[in-house]
């Protein structure tokens, strides 16, 4: 808990970092209509995919900072050495990362969805998938961030490692909204997303912890 509060308050004192990824999300989502054309039917069709890819890239953007700051000032080493369980501490850091970079996207997504002319039900489903999906992205991405900690060219490498692993989240997240608009119902997609989230929540902090131990030994 203390770790969450610390991370959140640290980030709140440097607001521009949070705002960067939020604005990135907004800009990416607004670029697509400009590139594709203002045809509303097309936009409605691609909206879930565009918003999901935008959220995915925005969460990737802030991943590099997840462990880097603590690594530089030595806090991370103290965490590894401390008697508290490292997966627990890492899990708290991931949760803080999601609160700062995932939750704003979820809150902002309805506004962007309106730009794409999604109806109210589709927007509800979109928010639900992002609510389940963005923590999943944070959990998967954290493993990549821990593996690339302090490595040459870490940012590019991080995207190469993490993006293929994001595929299932993207498929089911964007798929849920499309299934909803197609009249199939989104509950199956949402259940699978939730299942993946639970599995990731168990394994990811543990994998992160061993990656950090490797990085710091």
């Amino acid at each position: 808990m203390a770790v969450i509060r610390r991370d959140v308050s640290l980030a709140l004192r440097r607001k521009n970092e949070i705002m960067t990824s939020v604005f990135f999300f907004v800009v990416v989502a607004s670029l697509f209509p400009l590139g594709i054309g203002p045809e509303m039917n097309t936009l409605r069709l691609i909206a879930p995919g565009v918003l999901w890819v935008g959220a995915l890239l925005a969460s990737l953007l802030s991943l590099g900072r997840l462990f880097a700051g603590d690594h530089q000032d030595g806090t991370l080493e103290q965490m590894v050495l401390s008697s508290a369980s490292l997966p627990g501490l890492v899990g708290a850091k991931i949760l803080a990362h999601w609160l700062l970079s995932g939750l704003p996207l979820v809150i902002l997504s309805p506004v962007l969805a309106l730009q794409f002319d999604l109806n109210a039900q589709a927007i509800e489903v979109l928010m639900a998938t992002l609510l389940l999906g963005t923590p999943l992205l944070s959990l998967i991405g954290a493993v990549g961030a821990a593996l690339t900690l302090g490595v040459r060219g870490a940012d590019v490498l991080l995207s190469l490692l993490v993006l293929p692993l994001y595929v299932p989240a993207l498929v089911f997240g964007a798929g849920a909204v499309q299934a909803q608009t197609a009249g199939l119902g989104a509950s199956a997609h949402l259940s699978i997303l939730a299942a993946m989230l639970l599995v990731a929540a168990v394994f990811s902090p543990w994998a992160c912890a061993s990656a950090l131990r490797i990085a710091l030994e």
Binding site: V143, L147, T148, V151, R152, G153, L157, L160, L161, L163, P164, L165, V167, P168, V171, F172, G175, Q178, A179, M196, F203, A207, S210, A211, I214, A215, E217
Partner: protein, 252 residues
């Protein structure tokens, strides 16, 4: 049991494995060539032309074994990674780094021959079919592994980080495959199925199995060859490497 594990662990030492690999790889390479020539001859000349696809189907003799190998090599890497992270053996990490380029090569070969096959059969180089897409993602996973291990300077850390990545990837591969498959069936009603009929002619099956065996042996041979170089590089501070590389002495 103890006798057995002693034999296994003896070759876990890089020096012992260096000798073993040196003795094995020429045999493997020779066998791979022989089987490859035999398999290609069977596939190109003996096997009958497919009654639907004509002669063009013959690329299957490269395509399918390459796809198998790209998946098997990833499984092998996950196995070595697990071994390396549990027993802390140095050789496992080297094995993975020796295997990864071959796996990436097979994944690329499979995608490339698939595109060449797809053009005359389906009229398109690429479809977003579940198998094609997951093969592409597998290729990305190989590239990620190679990128990660190449950019960490400390070899022990690179091995361990790569091993962890290989394990995480191995857990994800089935999830990716099924999610892509479901995504595909939801989107495209008339998707192209890559599945071949199960009633293959006997000679076709034999040719394909020969090719698969040949690719398998090739992968082992090239990995052993590569691991010899890796061992020499890692152990260059030791006396035995110095003796090995001295121009007048050494086995080779």
């Amino acid at each position: 049991m103890t006798q057995h594990s002693n034999v296994l662990f003896r070759f876990a030492a890089p020096q012992a494995f260096y000798g073993l690999a040196g003795r094995l790889w020429p045999w493997m390479a020779a066998l791979a060539t022989a089987l490859g020539v035999w398999g290609l001859w069977m596939g190109m000349f003996v096997a009958p032309a497919d009654f639907q696809q004509g002669q063009a189907y013959r690329i299957i003799y490269v395509h399918v074994p390459a796809s198998w190998m790209s998946m098997i090599i990833y499984l092998a890497m996950a196995f070595w990674a697990l071994l390396g992270l549990t027993f802390n053996t140095r050789l496992s990490g080297m094995m993975n780094r020796a295997l990864a380029p071959t796996g990436a090569m097979f994944a690329f070969l499979s995608l490339w021959t698939g595109a060449l096959w797809g053009k005359p059969m389906w009229g398109t180089w690429w479809v977003w079919d579940a198998r094609l897409t997951s093969e592409l993602i597998l290729f990305f996973l190989y590239l990620g592994f190679m990128g990660l291990t190449a950019s960490i300077d400390d070899p022990r850390r690179a091995d361990k980080a790569g091993g962890l990545l290989a394990l995480v990837g191995a857990i994800n591969v089935p999830v990716i495959y099924f999610s892509v498959r479901w995504w595909n069936t939801l989107h495209q009603g008339a998707s192209v199925s890559v599945t071949q009929g199960s009633s293959m002619a006997q000679t076709m099956l034999w040719a394909m199995l020969l090719m698969a065996l040949s690719f398998w042996l090739y992968a082992i041979a090239i990995a052993l060859y590569r691991i010899r170089t890796l061992i020499l590089e890692r152990e260059k501070h030791t006396l035995w490497v110095e003796a090995e590389l001295r121009p007048e002495g050494g086995a080779r």
